[in-house]
Symmetry: C2
Subunit: 581 residues, 2 copies
């Protein structure tokens, strides 16, 4: 096997085209070994094997620098830069992350996981090179799906201002995570159809030079064009047409399902594990579809991750004009939601907590200053959510809850979540965000409130004395356990409170607690800095009340286990009990 | 005068072209009256008089809806929609804001002040119209400068997905606030040069239909094209070429200086008031230019507001390749700064606090996860900063200081500011943000620290007992006054602390205070929610320390006087004294 002898990119430079093609097969075997057992980004990696080989064949990494967008297509790059055992040896799967990572290799320049960042980051490397009078190529590698993001478009527009070497490799597989949305994709199609000859060319309109490769999975073709642009003295685009998921029939056919895939049988492609039972994605989608049927003003909006709230192809079709996928364009999504609400529609925009970070200004300026009644559904907003450093959902409370006018709600169970969502859609007084629960689908048989229009009213779910536990959202169940523990051990039941509102405090309830309580414990599923508990601490600052805020430390976590993080932050009921008593 | 008889847009529909041209002159007189006495956005409004008249002549506002980008060009629109006395009658200047404002008129749909939002907001109005089965035109009005912003480009890309009426009026005056930067401006020039005929067309590449008007200050030409696109059944761009500042020679000649202008003599254009003395813009620029001379790795980055740190045309020229204006593209600016730092450069990106809101995700993902040592200079971050609801600088502490890895510094005087800036540029350990002081240039003759690498170390500037005042940044001087007041009245001097670091607390100092202090007062120039003081409250939560957090209420302020806001938030030393004693 050629791959056995490849420990750094220089080792592939001696191979001929036939040998490189064999190497591509070997690499796909390594990808298959890891992905079938571990899961991961299937389609992006299977489609980009040949291009990665050709890049390393022509350019000289790390002097020549590759910046991968999202970096979910970097597996072949990792194999060719000293990390192959994490694909071929199951014991070493955990040695690497699923994204580029400078701590792993000098061939990686950034920790990247969000889309649309590569061009700007790479512009920085190029400008730094020029300031220092150094040489070398800088190559940004970006998929067609990522091009619709504001940061990528800003970068594309700025790039020609660099009067020096800069290469943008556009990996066009005619897919985002789902299908693409946006006018620029018509131009990409026209460019593919005309083999790059179409006069109306987005990249040229942005001021860039342009090269086209019709078969982006053909190593010889790629090498030929990469040689042409190597050491070029001005910014250029190389537009290549690849096949997403190439080399595995199920992935070539069902591109959306195989963008990211759970572990599977490498022969049939069937899932190994079956995940049954209820999940909030499907339930949210069904809830919204039902609302849409009875009210044509309800519209669901997603930004390239439709299944994050259960909108499979079939259900997107069922929703028709009442479903919008804006593509990777979260800024546009929030501003458009504000406009829809202003026009009397009932928009619900859902994405992951980590991706809401891309819309801070739109939430503030376009939505909240105008006080339009759009609904934001914040998914995987939890320590129980995604565990990669670039996808953490533990920062949205400080980010969003301190924006004026926004009402941010934290449900503690399934029934409360849908009551909040329903109320938010139907009201026209406030911009509202709701955290989708992330600690499993927990039901209650107790009645839940259905009206949240009187803001910042806490629910006292258990009246006790001495100690009050204010347990927000997903951490309500920890609060319940803690309450029971205190009750059992001291014989004195504490008060338990479901605060429901993240964006304001119930001063009446908090004031009342002073008369029969000496200690308040807050619990929140997110970092403490700038969060919910600190507002309670501020309230009680000039009083005798002892206040303990529990939540997560402000830090970037990476590939953690939830249990470790909870223990490290003293978040088990036992630990909290021992802290207090 | 025709303007006398115009109380709503319908009143102009009976006028002929000659009368409309006379109306344009009258409107310019009204603009001149207000702008020469009050100051405001001169160039954008003088250039857009004819287009606004033609819009209201052809379309039927408010059934047809205009969404103005930035909305700094909406003065003529305000005159034609019932608000003319705020231009012709000095007593009524304060009746209106400088931006569109739904509280003023049914012809305004959004409070807008940031750039690049109009297309997305208007897409929402169009989608809402379609969901409800209503009719009417929706027109987004956007300048060429705003087109480079990510949100605008996302909107431009998404717009063709609307299969219904939607008009994007591109008001191209070949200027941003300063000159434009970015590749797309070459295409705009090619389109202007070819009278819209150039094959490579950014708007068509984005999937949009396209019309061109060569003289965007010619009412007849504009009316003719607007009539063509009125009630069009699909999204289209109307690209018009206008003259910024048209009708006033100084503004036509010196477009950058006249984008926004202070009060002036309407004959000569000379400033009425002279603002002398030191200012942080000029001082920062001179400091950076000096650094650049001795170190070619230092590079200043701005996003279309170069003079916010003093980079006038002359000084931009002096900086040469070590100055970058990315245009309106803050996301790109922060990501590129991260890349430059990674490559060993020393980037300093400066913009206003309110505009940093557009880069939350880039600060988090591109910069802080990668821990690259770029410097962010946060300007007008203060209650003393800009006073319009869309430009407030009182939210950056909760927004930025809760992002892991960032070191956010708050200087208390001029010497400390430049020490922090110098340290930040020279160190390579952390991403650092510095709040530029906004309470005047205050000097100290005491020595200031020059090394900030040991994080979160507070400076005890006066050792006292019983009460400790922790006074952050611009509010340090309020802390000093308060300390003197307490000292004078009680005979017992309090401790005064300059915390310097916003992003972390000095647990050692705070722990020590417990032994000889019973009360801690925090002061911060920003909203309290999610801010600095709450972290101190959290620290002391499980203790006997009484903690009082002083700062601003979480709310959107608009056109306020600083004194009122300070008093309303109990921020005078006298008020604080009375609260505590």
């Amino acid at each position: 096997m050629y791959i056995e002898k490849i420990n750094s990119p220089t080792d592939i430079k001696a191979l001929d085209i036939e040998q490189l093609n064999t190497l591509a097969e070997e690499i796909r075997n390594g990808l298959m070994n890891r992905l079938s057992k571990r899961g991961g980004h299937f389609g992006p990696n299977f489609g980009f094997v040949e291009a990665t080989i050709a890049l390393h064949y022509v350019f000289d990494s790390p002097k020549d620098k590759f910046v991968f967008d999202v970096s979910h297509q970097c597996y072949t790059h990792k194999m060719l830069t000293g990390r192959k055992k994490s694909f071929f040896s199951d014991m070493h799967f955990s040695d690497i992350s699923g994204y580029t990572n400078p701590e792993e290799s000098e061939h990686d320049f950034f920790n990247v996981g969000h889309t649309s960042t590569s061009i700007s980051l790479a512009c920085g490397l190029a400008k730094g090179r020029d300031l220092k009078g150094e040489s070398g190529n800088v190559v940004a590698i970006i998929g067609d799906g990522s091009l619709s993001g504001g940061e990528a478009l800003e970068g594309l527009d700025f790039a020609p201002e660099l009067a020096s070497n800069f290469i943008i490799l556009v990996n066009d597989n005619d897919m985002s995570i789902a299908e693409n949305h946006g006018g620029l994709y018509k131009d990409l199609k026209a460019l593919r159809d005309s083999k790059g000859k179409c006069e109306c060319n987005l990249f040229k309109a942005m001021g860039l030079d342009y090269f086209y490769v019709a078969d982006g999975n053909n190593i010889a073709e790629l090498i030929s064009v990469f040689r042409k642009v190597k050491d070029i003295d001005h910014p250029t685009v190389v537009h290549i047409n690849t096949l997403k998921g190439k080399g595995f029939e199920p992935a070539e056919t069902h591109k959306e399902e195989w963008h990211w895939h759970m572990p599977f049988d490498p022969i049939t492609g069937n899932d190994i594990s079956t995940y049954g039972g209820e999940n909030y994605g499907d339930m949210t989608c069904d809830f919204l579809l039902k609302k849409m049927k009875s009210d044509k003003n309800v519209v669901a909006i997603v930004a390239a991750v439709p299944t994050n709230i259960g909108f499979t192809q079939e259900k997107r079709k069922a929703a028709g004009e009442q479903f919008i996928d804006v593509g990777i364009a979260e800024e546009h999504a929030v501003a458009m939601a504000s406009g829809i609400a202003k026009a009397g529609g009932k928009p619900v925009f859902a994405t992951h907590s980590s991706f809401f970070q891309r819309t801070y200004d739109q939430i503030s300026q376009d939505l909240c200053i105008n006080n339009n009644s759009a609904t934001l559904l914040v998914n995987t907003a939890s320590v129980y959510g995604m565990h990669d450093i670039t996808h953490l959902g533990i920062y949205d409370i400080p980010m969003m809850s301190n924006i004026p006018n926004l009402v941010y709600l934290a449900p503690t169970n399934c029934e409360e979540y849908f009551a909040m969502l329903d109320w938010s859609i139907e009201q026209n007084m406030y911009p509202v965000a709701v955290r989708i629960p992330c600690n499993g689908v927990i039901h209650t048989d107790k009645p839940v409130n259905s009206d949240f229009s009187e803001l910042n009213r806490y629910n006292i779910t258990q009246q006790g004395s001495e100690i009050a536990i204010i347990a927000l959202g997903d951490f309500y169940q920890i609060g319940e356990e803690l309450a029971n523990l205190i009750s059992d051990r001291t014989g004195n039941p504490p008060t338990l409170i479901n605060p429901r509102y993240i964006t304001g405090i119930d001063t009446k309830v908090l004031e009342q607690l002073k008369s029969s309580h000496s200690t308040v414990i807050t619990l929140e599923d997110g970092i403490l800095d700038g969060g919910f508990g600190e507002k309670i601490s501020r309230f009680y600052g000039p009083s005798d009340m002892m206040v303990y805020n529990y939540g997560l430390k402000k830090e970037f976590l990476d590939r953690y286990t939830v249990e470790d993080v909870l223990r490290h932050n003293h978040l088990t009921p036992e630990q909290i009990y021992n802290d207090i008593f």
